[in-house]
Symmetry: C2
Subunit: 233 residues, 2 copies
Amino acid sequence: MPRIQLLNRVLASNDALAEEFRKQFDKEKITAINVMSAPGSGKTALIEKTVAHFKDKLGIFVIEGDIKGDLDAKRVLKAGGKVTQINTDGACHLDAFMLSRVLNKVDYKKLDLLIVENVGNLVCPAEFNLGTHYNVMLLSTPEGVDKPTKYPLMFSKADLLIINKIDLMPYVDFDFKALEKSLKLIRPSLEIIKVSCKTGEGLSDWYRWLTDHIPQTARRKPRNSGKRKAHSG
Amino acid sequence: MPRIQLLNRVLASNDALAEEFRKQFDKEKITAINVMSAPGSGKTALIEKTVAHFKDKLGIFVIEGDIKGDLDAKRVLKAGGKVTQINTDGACHLDAFMLSRVLNKVDYKKLDLLIVENVGNLVCPAEFNLGTHYNVMLLSTPEGVDKPTKYPLMFSKADLLIINKIDLMPYVDFDFKALEKSLKLIRPSLEIIKVSCKTGEGLSDWYRWLTDHIPQTARRKPRNSGKRKAHSG
């Protein structure tokens, strides 16, 4: 079978499975986000802050995707999160099949927000639908502003772009206007939030975005999750 | 055909073609390097500096690999280099087949050093042999020291690790001893050079490494390439 046909078949069965997840998430009133970026942009740092901020208000579960190891899962656990680890064993992205192997660890009834941290990669993760509602993309200031032009698929699929490491702005060349200009060609309406996970600057904007995009927030009472037992897969 | 078998067949035919390139490079006494890193680590900045430093001493040609666009090729051209662009049109890595489409633009007789800049990606490029002699890998300080543990294949295949953006060391958490510790498990003998392409610090160590690894340097006379015409593919 030619490669391209095979790839299309793989993507089609991935999409079908992702669609099933999506229906389940919607039925259970769960908001699911897929967090993507290059390696080292600060996905885990953002998730640590998010878990620490919301853990007593929302039911949150984090799925950590890494090629190897569980460094990030341990960080989320330490921040007070419930988390499980997927090791892709060399694969450069998460797909719906990998997700299906860990979703049985998630208690949907207690869940408001499912956070999936994808493998650090600006290319392949954008190709695989995980059934999540929003793609939250990070770009850190030291990476530079040429990334939308060079990795257009990832940016074109983002629902929110978080510019992280703004504390480094004085020391790096990061021309925000040039970034906006190149984004206009790829994803004109893309919402942008600037943060520093290190200093905390801008994180309140992210928390507000997240709250606005979790429709059940207003409907559910705050959870007393202080004693919630942490999982690690 | 199962995916894994298909992948193995693709890799085997890639390796065979790469082996042909290698024989040609050796026959023509050309040193070829494959420059790999995450997006935004500074591959192009390193190549710009390298071209500017060596262009009057060595015959250099640069192959720029990007998913889309020719931003990096234009930068190399501006630095005085001969360059051609490969656009992978979505593919997350370069392979030998892509290289075969541009190698006909290279005048082997005038060449000492072939520099291939791979797609910015810490995963997939490491899987594809390009026939080059050395894998030169970059890690920039803002990316953090957990990368060898999370992307072991790339680090295990590196012949040289360049730590870039050391000018940012005072502003980021980069524990060099922790990096060395994790590298010991994956690539114990990996040589490391610390540089800042921005300030120029450490670049002389890189130029020395390169000179030491270009066996023909001593044998050939310096070239008068000041008037060399630049190519752009």
